[in-house]
């Protein structure tokens, strides 16, 4: 039996909009074995609660979302990392937060837990006091002549989030990079328990500040699915507007930062100037530069202010007027091309097995975009165009991002004048249920899951695409010079806080 059939034969637990297939240990082991033979099921997220381990799969061909779970027995479950290497980080995180061990996992080292927490595992039913002193972190070995190690972080040279990079280099060539995260672990999941979805939305909006809209939408959709409520049409359209503004703003800032890392200050100056104008227009339109807390379960909390549409359209016009000049500057600067092209290449095979989503996937031949397949909310009514490239280098990722800026601007011009009239928010009753929500943030696919009992959250998870993107950065940087790491890193721009939870 193939993996898909195995899932469909298991018991369906009530979860909206897709049922959760609850497999027993033997079924799960058979499923994990079948998964190794069947590449069509892409692992998109994995997490746990005190009793079970959960996994979300996407079949990109037809947009089927499959949701599976397995009970944990005596602290053990069958890991998925032998079949899906992208499961390694999820399994390490599950071990750190809930204490469940992947019996055959490929990597048993801690990830988020640095030995500093007062009680571990923090999300277990009964965490035990942590009495041992933190141990030195263990890194993967690299062997050979003339190798040296460069430890970087958690406090970096630039204004970025905390994380530790351990480079092993031969001369100036990177032989191995290992990323150790967890420094920004704030215990967000624990704080959400016992709260109503409306209150917990503040945490979803602060999992990763640059994707505040993306995560808030995915969380709201999960909570709405659990409560069997649909947001009003105007709210859905406004969410689409928020998400596309967020996408443009992040791409503008990142393209600027990438060119700046190649010491090309002119482009950064212009791109970041446009970003600032867009953030100001957003404040005029929606009252907050980053639109934090604008999306809430049931709908949206702000309406388009008077003059908001004109402000946003004006920024898009100014950007469009300069766009060809910026693009020509990028295309015709040999010094820039020299740094961008063939740097930080991510192969198709790796991209296919990790399914990183977002612009990283689309720069390496992966088409997945949740706005198109399976689609959600207002995107079901509009047509999203996108570019797929195959080069997989920094240049390809920049070009995908540039194409997304143009496309998102087009979507904004299409949606803004056609906002449906009506209410902004639908009431969420304090009922019980389980829901899965997804959204395409600027980085890629975001998955949220909540279980609500009597209006209170009893279990939740928020999955940023960075979980599957960080390991790919580690590989993409191999063979490049250390000085090109900032370029590679910024072209991926994975979230630290998004995986630190």
């Amino acid at each position: 039996m193939n993996a898909r059939t195995l899932l469909l034969t298991a018991t369906a637990e009530p979860c909206a909009p897709v049922p959760r297939r609850h497999l027993d240990g033997a079924q799960w082991a058979a499923f994990a074995a079948a998964l190794a033979q069947d590449p069509s099921l892409e692992l998109r997220a994995m997490w746990a609660d005190p009793l079970s381990v959960y996994a979300v799969f996407l079949v990109p061909e037809d947009g089927t979302v499959m949701f599976a779970s397995v009970p944990v027995e005596l602290g053990l479950y069958q890991g998925l990392s032998p079949a899906r290497p992208s499961a390694v980080l999820y399994e390490r995180m599950i071990h750190d937060l809930w204490g469940h061990t992947a019996a055959n996992g490929l990597d048993g080292r801690p990830f988020l837990d640095h030995g500093n927490w007062t009680a571990t595992p923090p999300l277990a039913t009964r965490p035990l006091p942590n009495l041992t002193a933190p141990e030195p972190k263990e890194f993967l070995p690299a062997e050979g002549e003339g190798l040296h190690r460069i430890p970087v972080g958690p406090v970096h040279a630039g204004t970025i989030e905390p994380g530790h990079f351990r480079f092993t280099a031969q001369g100036e060539i990177v032989v191995r990079l290992e990323v150790r995260l967890g420094y920004a672990h704030k215990g967000t999941l624990g704080l959400m328990l016992g709260k109503s979805p409306r209150v917990a939305a503040r945490f979803a909006a602060r999992l990763s500040g640059d994707s505040t809209v993306g995560h808030a939408i995915a969380f709201a959709r999960a909570a709405e699915a659990a409560a069997r409520v649909l947001p009003p049409a105007r709210a859905e359209a406004l969410r689409c507007v928020f998400a596309e503004i967020e996408r443009i703003a992040n791409h503008l800032g990142d393209i600027g930062a990438i060119t700046n890392d190649a010491a090309f200050a002119l482009m950064q100056a212009r791109f970041v100037w446009h970003r600032e104008q867009l953030l100001r227009a957003t404040e005029t339109a929606f009252g907050h530069r980053l639109m934090m807390d604008a999306v809430v379960p049931g709908g949206v909390s702000v309406d388009l202010a008077a003059g908001g549409e004109a402000a946003i359209t004006q920024v898009l016009d100014t950007l469009a007027a300069e766009w060809d000049t910026l693009l020509a500057t990028y295309d015709n600067s040999a010094s820039l091309a020299d740094r961008m092209v063939t740097t930080g290449t991510l192969s198709h095979a790796l991209a296919a097995s990790f399914a990183p989503g977002g612009f990283i996937g689309r720069a390496s031949g992966q088409e997945a975009d949740l706005r198109r397949v399976p689609g959600y909310g207002h995107y079901r009514d509009i047509d999203v165009q996108m570019l797929v490239l195959t080069a997989g280098d920094v240049d390809a990722r920049v070009r995908i991002r540039m194409a997304e800026v143009v496309e998102s601007a087009r979507l904004l011009r299409h949606v803004l004048p056609r906002l449906p009239e009506g209410a902004l928010i639908e009431r969420l009753d304090a009922i019980s249920g389980e829901g899965l929500g997804w959204a395409e943030g600027f980085r890629g696919d975001i998955w949220h899951w909540v279980r609500v009992e009597g209006g209170q959250i009893t279990a939740a998870f928020m999955a940023d695409p960075s979980w599957r993107q960080w390991p790919l950065l580690e590989v993409a940087v191999e063979g490049n010079i250390v000085a090109d790491f900032p370029l590679c890193n910024k072209s991926f721009n994975c979230s630290y806080s998004g995986v630190d939870l």
């Binding site: 923090p122 704030k186 503040r202 500040g209 640059d210 800032g253 930062a257 980053l290 300069e322």
Partner: protein
């Protein structure tokens, strides 16, 4: 092409906007702290080291905007430096997570005296929405002494710039002393 952009910049003038005024009350109290400690003045130029002690990266987005041509930090004598050993100011964001507590403290120790610590964002004040989590120890002042706070989730670039301008103001020698020099 690049020439067209440069020509437009010449024609339209700089995109940089005037800096906000310093907060006189805060400037006075910070200057008083420097006097009381009888410390050498830092001078008008301030080197800033940004430390993220566990933020959601929202504050970093806005701090990064300070370097853009709209705010152009460097014209005010403010610049971001790569090492705490070169810094006069630590610009710290986020609640202090247990996993960052040690790194923040070490960064603070590595920064030479006299130094200022500015806590940026609601989380940096008291933990913000993450208050009460067992994975954090609280706001920035739970780990290191703080001289100034910037409210907001995240604070706007102008709000952060205002506090930085105030730091410069606090460092400026009073007029009588300026004459003697």
């Amino acid at each position: 092409m690049a020439w067209r952009t440069m020509w437009r910049a010449l024609r339209d003038g700089p995109a940089t906007e005037p800096a906000p005024a310093a907060d006189p009350l805060l400037a006075e109290s910070l200057a008083a702290r420097l006097h009381a400690a009888a410390q050498r003045r830092l001078g008008r130029g301030l080197a800033i080291r940004q430390v993220d002690s566990g933020s959601c990266n929202g504050c970093e987005l806005e701090i990064n905007m300070l370097g853009s041509i709209v705010y152009d930090l460097e014209r005010l004598g403010l610049r971001f430096v790569a090492s705490p050993r070169h810094a006069d100011v630590l610009l710290v964001t986020g609640p202090v997570t247990r996993n960052m507590q040690d790194a923040l403290l070490r960064t603070w120790v590595a920064t030479p005296d006299p130094k200022f610590v500015v806590a940026v964002g609601d989380c940096a004040i008291d933990g913000g929405v993450f208050k009460g989590s067992s994975a954090i120890i609280g706001g920035i002042d739970a780990a290191v002494p703080v001289d100034a706070f910037v409210r907001g989730c995240p604070p706007t670039p102008s709000a952060i710039l205002e506090v930085l301008c105030t730091l410069i103001e606090a460092n400026t020698p009073p007029p009588e002393r300026q004459r003697r020099m």
